[in-house]
């Protein structure tokens, strides 16, 4: 079975040769197996969003190769092998909440009733069923972010790319959505790359936590997590806390040799 995502020796330099040149990523090797949930964690500016954008073929790498679902990243994008939620919600102001969620379905040619149903279902999932007819500027920051999540989930893509999707959410909503996300991924066998700043969140969600460090951005550690099926009890379990400690330690003292 082919890996969902495979990066080999990937590097990215912004504005090369200019005074504001930035080496955002260097020598990144990373494999995400099919159905795996991988989190990216690391200090602000270490290149997490850039890494996600490379996988999504939204920026080209300056070095190395990016393979998604066994194909070059570009082909994978054209085949719509993934769904993405950005750090900024990026909603279209001129569409209602409902129609924002419908957008990717529309582009895949889903029928009107199917679109409407799926959008409603997703909005209910993120707790915004009542706001379907509102326009984005009328929503709170967290609500906008939730609409963006609903939009990414609506198409049930084989690969999910999420950039701090729960960053603006309160703990309860966040935990509920974490569980929903895991449920959806398990049910549909979705592979996920998930950027977060929250160590507990990374540990709770992931099969592997990838720890990054900045300037230049690189992978310093990959921590395997094995908590079995997540239940009510998982968040209180010893394994969970052990994972948190491991990740925290990796973040504080980056190992010199990348894993």
């Amino acid at each position: 079975m082919t890996a969902a995502v495979e990066l080999t020796g990937v590097g990215k330099v912004f504005n090369p040769g200019r005074p504001d040149q930035v080496a955002a990523l260097t020598g990144v090797d990373l494999t995400v197996e099919s159905g795996q949930f991988v989190s990216l964690i690391g200090p602000s500016g270490c290149g997490k969003s850039t890494l996600l954008r490379l996988v999504a073929d939204l920026v080209p790498p300056t070095g190395g190769t990016v393979t998604v679902a066994g194909k070059p990243a570009r082909k994978a994008r054209l085949d719509q092998e993934y769904g993405i939620a950005f750090q900024q919600a990026g909603l279209f102001d001129w569409r209602t909440v409902q129609r924002n969620v419908e957008l990717p379905l529309e582009l895949r040619g889903a029928s009107r009733t199917e679109r409407r149903e799926r959008a409603r279902e997703m909005l209910d999932l993120v707790g915004l069923g009542d706001f379907a007819k509102h326009y984005p500027p009328q929503l709170s920051g967290g609500m906008q972010q939730r609409v963006a999540i609903a939009r990414a989930l609506a198409v049930h893509p084989p690969l999910l790319l999420m950039d701090e999707p729960f960053g603006a959410l309160d703990e309860m909503t966040r935990e509920r959505l974490q569980d929903e996300l895991l449920r959806i991924c398990a049910r549909t066998g979705t592979s996920t790359i998930f950027v977060t700043h929250s160590i507990p969140e990374a540990v709770y969600l992931s099969d592997r936590v990838v720890v990054m460090s900045p300037r230049p951005g690189r992978i310093t550690d990959v921590i395997e997590i094995d908590l079995g099926e997540r239940t009510e009890a998982t968040r209180q379990s010893a394994g969970f806390f052990a994972g948190i400690t491991k990740v925290r330690r990796a973040l504080r003292a980056p190992s010199e040799v990348p894993a």
Partner: protein
Amino acid sequence: MRVLPRADDAAMPHVWDVVRRFGEPELTGGDPIALVVLRSCLFTLRSVAVGFGVGAAVGLVLAVAMQRFRVVERGLLPYVILSQTVPLIALAPAIAGWGGKLSLGSYPWQPWMSVATIAAYLAFFPVAVGMLRGLQSPPKVAEELMHSYAAGWWHTLLKLRLPASTPYLFPALRLAGAAAVVGAVVGEISTGTRGGIGRLVIEYSREATADPAKVYTAMVGAALLGLFVAALVGAAEFALNRRRAT
């Protein structure tokens, strides 16, 4: 050198004189000027409407093409600009000449169509430039999102660029409306097409020596025509905003 405008009767007839002139016949025993001006405006309106429609459509297509292909933008934009710098006197005979050789099916080319062509020639430009800006206006996140959906160019245009460019569309259309009026007026003057307000302006201006108020009536007519077109565009904008605000 004179820097402040003159204000004598010949240079600036009293508003009242102009208004009064509207009520008087244009020639002894003829129709009142108001009627003549109104008739001329209606005649010109046809050229304006056709020129505006064709010009806006062409401008839109050009903007889309330029947005689509960077190369086209690089290659085309200078020509679009250039086109606007070609003085009409160099074009009017060519347009009238070409037109004279054309016919739309069995419908022969009419002089007013040459005028409409000139109107379209001026009207397409603001739409092309303004809409290019509008089509390029969506934020990067939005573009990346559409990219991630592998949304082709057409869908990105339909779902993102066009809706995002409406704030740019109406100023552009307003300019195009005004340009179409100017184009129609200039076109009538340069091609010698009779019946419209442009022709009237030039005909009355020959009499400005002894009857300065008269030419102002035609100019007021031309201005009113421009206002009318601007008002139509404004009404369209209002209607659209109204629909979207609900």
